[in-house]
Symmetry: C2
Subunit: 118 residues, 2 copies
DNA sequence: AAGGTATATACTTGTCAAGGAATATACAAC
DNA sequence: GTTGTATATTCCTTGACAAGTATATACCTT
């Protein structure tokens, strides 16, 4: 499928959404993880996620109490290209690097992972 | 220099600006050429060019009656990366391809070129 | 059923941007 | 100087979006 470039850039032109897209292009995350990484209020994260979903860049799946967001796999080549460009650009940026640092810490606690043992 | 990614995407999230950036990454153009290629009203083109200039993506140079716009050479790696991503994405798109067709036709008549002979 | 947690949806307010109409500026040619 | 051409700026209206407060929904647990 082919996605409108303008829509892609509209989604990318807000810092919060950009951070979310950057994270999600590393792999799916649930809302509470995204919140924890971004350190932004629930409503802010939720609304930007809704924006991304409404425009077809991400899709969701419920897992119990949690909702897991991921990049829409079938979205478009254009999105893929732009997300990989974002990965390149983000390397030099402090904010994105700190997000990745928090992502690494948070992953093991993920609500998506089975309880370790019992 | 390093340019804010959000600013870059804000500049790219309007179709008219995107077409302008796509054209300018092929080389400098004067306003009247851009207008002729985009087939959009003067004021619209002019205002989007002003937006791009205000945000540092392009710079201008006067040549007699004409004003020549070009991508700000020293802008940033990020801009370069995104513009080359745009070139890739634009290949599949009818609008951008038609712009290039008109660009090819218009170039010989360019106001930047010396009068052929006399 | 009741209470808790995770997430989303109104509703409001302020800001910014887009488009158009009219006008202004800068230069060129005479 | 006057006129013409190219380009920019001002003013206006309209619509989109960002952020916050409060409230609702969906699921889980007991």
């Amino acid at each position: 499928m082919t996605m409108d470039l303008v829509v892609i850039y509209k989604c990318m032109c807000d810092r919060t959404r950009l951070r979310i897209l950057h994270l999600l292009s590393r792999g799916p995350l649930c809302v509470c993880e995204i919140q924890a990484i971004l350190e932004e209020p629930q409503i802010k994260v939720s609304k930007h996620l809704a924006y991304l979903r409404r425009h077809g860049l991400v899709r969701t799946e419920r897992d119990g109490n949690n909702i897991i967001y991921r990049i829409a796999a079938d979205a478009s080549d254009r999105l893929d290209r732009n997300l990989s460009c974002l990965q390149d650009c983000a390397q030099e940026d402090r904010i994105f690097r700190e997000d990745l640092r928090r992502l690494a810490r948070i992953e093991p606690l993920s609500c998506r992972v089975e309880p370790a043992s019992r």
